[in-house]
Amino acid sequence: MESEVESSHGGDVSRAEVRSVIAALEPDQIVSAKEHHHCPRRRLTRTEMVLFWALRIYLVFMMGVVFYQIWTGVR
């Protein structure tokens, strides 16, 4: 197995270390595996979109309230 594996350090990773990594980590814990395999994008349903936008509008509105409070506080 270790012969199939490259090291990001060139030659400074020993075979024992490679063996240890393969044995100790789950395959999707290895950094290069995570870099190469990303989670596919999911399609949002109409309800989810509405919820996302509603909470975004809520946040923008409430931030306006915070700024209003700061403005009145300063005055």
């Binding site: 995570k34 989670c39 994008r41 909470l55 809520y58």
Partner: protein, 474 residues
Amino acid sequence: MGEENSASRRGETVLLRDVVDHQPRPASDVVITHEDIDRAHDRERVSATRARRGIRPRLRLFWLLIGPGILVMLGENDGPSMLSYAATGARFGIGFFLPFVVLTFVMACVVQEMTVRLGAATHRGHAELIFDRFGPFWGWFSMIDLMVGNFLTLVTEFIAIRAGLGFFGVRPGIAVFCALLVLAIALLTHRYWTWERIILAAAIFNLLFVPVALMTHPHWGAVGRALLTWRPLPGGLTQDTVLILLANVGATVTPWMLFFQQSAIADKGLTTRDIRFGRIDTLLGATLAAVAALATMLATAPLFLHHMSAGNYEAAEFAQALQPFVGRWGAALFALGMFEAGMVAAITISTSSAYAFGEVARRPHSLNLPFQQGRTFYLVLLVEAVAAAGLVLIPGIPLVYIVLLVNVIAVLAMPPALLFLYMLVNDREIMGTLVSPRWANVLALGVVALLVGAGLLFGVSVIAPNALALIGGK
């Protein structure tokens, strides 16, 4: 060890790799990095300990697996949080807010437990999953919320550091410089495990508020009555009460906590077999943090009883005001606790920003990285901390107001962040059988409803204070 992984692979959980790509990976794709080797060493210790029977190996396993939960909870007992608790005790005494703060920590447990499962099942950070699953449009919204919130909060951490050390006569510039030095030294370890243990040791000093509370000789009967009856609430429901209410919610449930704990769990290398310990870790952290929060309120309650106006107090002023009740040593412990709260949070919050940035920018992001390989990660962390520290040194900034508003902003930004978390943790494609059970979803939605309700109440209190008086029955 091989057995552990085989068992995990055979387990019922559908891991991310199974759904991402069913093609066999070319051998040339597999590259072993320094980060992998360090993480593997940590996992070897876990596996070796797990293989042994008896109480001592179980305790050792617990010791090896705890960390992110305690760090996130004690990290959130930060400068603005402790100042909010202190202001609450000084303005309202022992009453409604004691059980209310306990409730906020229950909410924090519900939310953070979801990040434990998500991190252990996917081995990925929160920002990365949001970008991958919902796309960059929503991903950037979430990143902007996080980065703005984190930066503002970091500013307040340095305010607490400055104020805490100010009690001992340390000049602001020196206090801030020392804090930056401590933050940089912790990073020099280039090892997640060592970094985590150093910060855990520092975080335990959050409990300094407990002896201060005991020095005030609290009336335990009143404490028990308040916890059971949620009363009294002096002054009723006013704009001030709502601001303190929101500040206390923001003191326990904030977006950076989601990003930090999930990324820390992935960096620590926890797997689905470790979820139980992750939950205990979170619960233990919440308990310790709640004890420190309640102690802070009890410590400043004498200011309420003696009708001392503490509305605009900074951390050091609280310590000075408490001196007649707790003596010089008690006041010093209070100031030291404020410094610790700011210091630990400055480290954890800047780390959460660096994790999120690395995940989104697809740059290496781990505390196991040597500086050469994790340059972007460490630079984001340090630059953010230095910028926040610099702001604090500008004279004339209304510090107390900023501190209270930071917690309010955190509460307002939480519902959108929680929706992402809720959807991810119910996403069968990435979670497999680890999706949230119905009761957990009910609790999570309850937290969202409470947060939105608290935010709207704050909006009413600012825009239409008269309407608030009607709600309050006045």
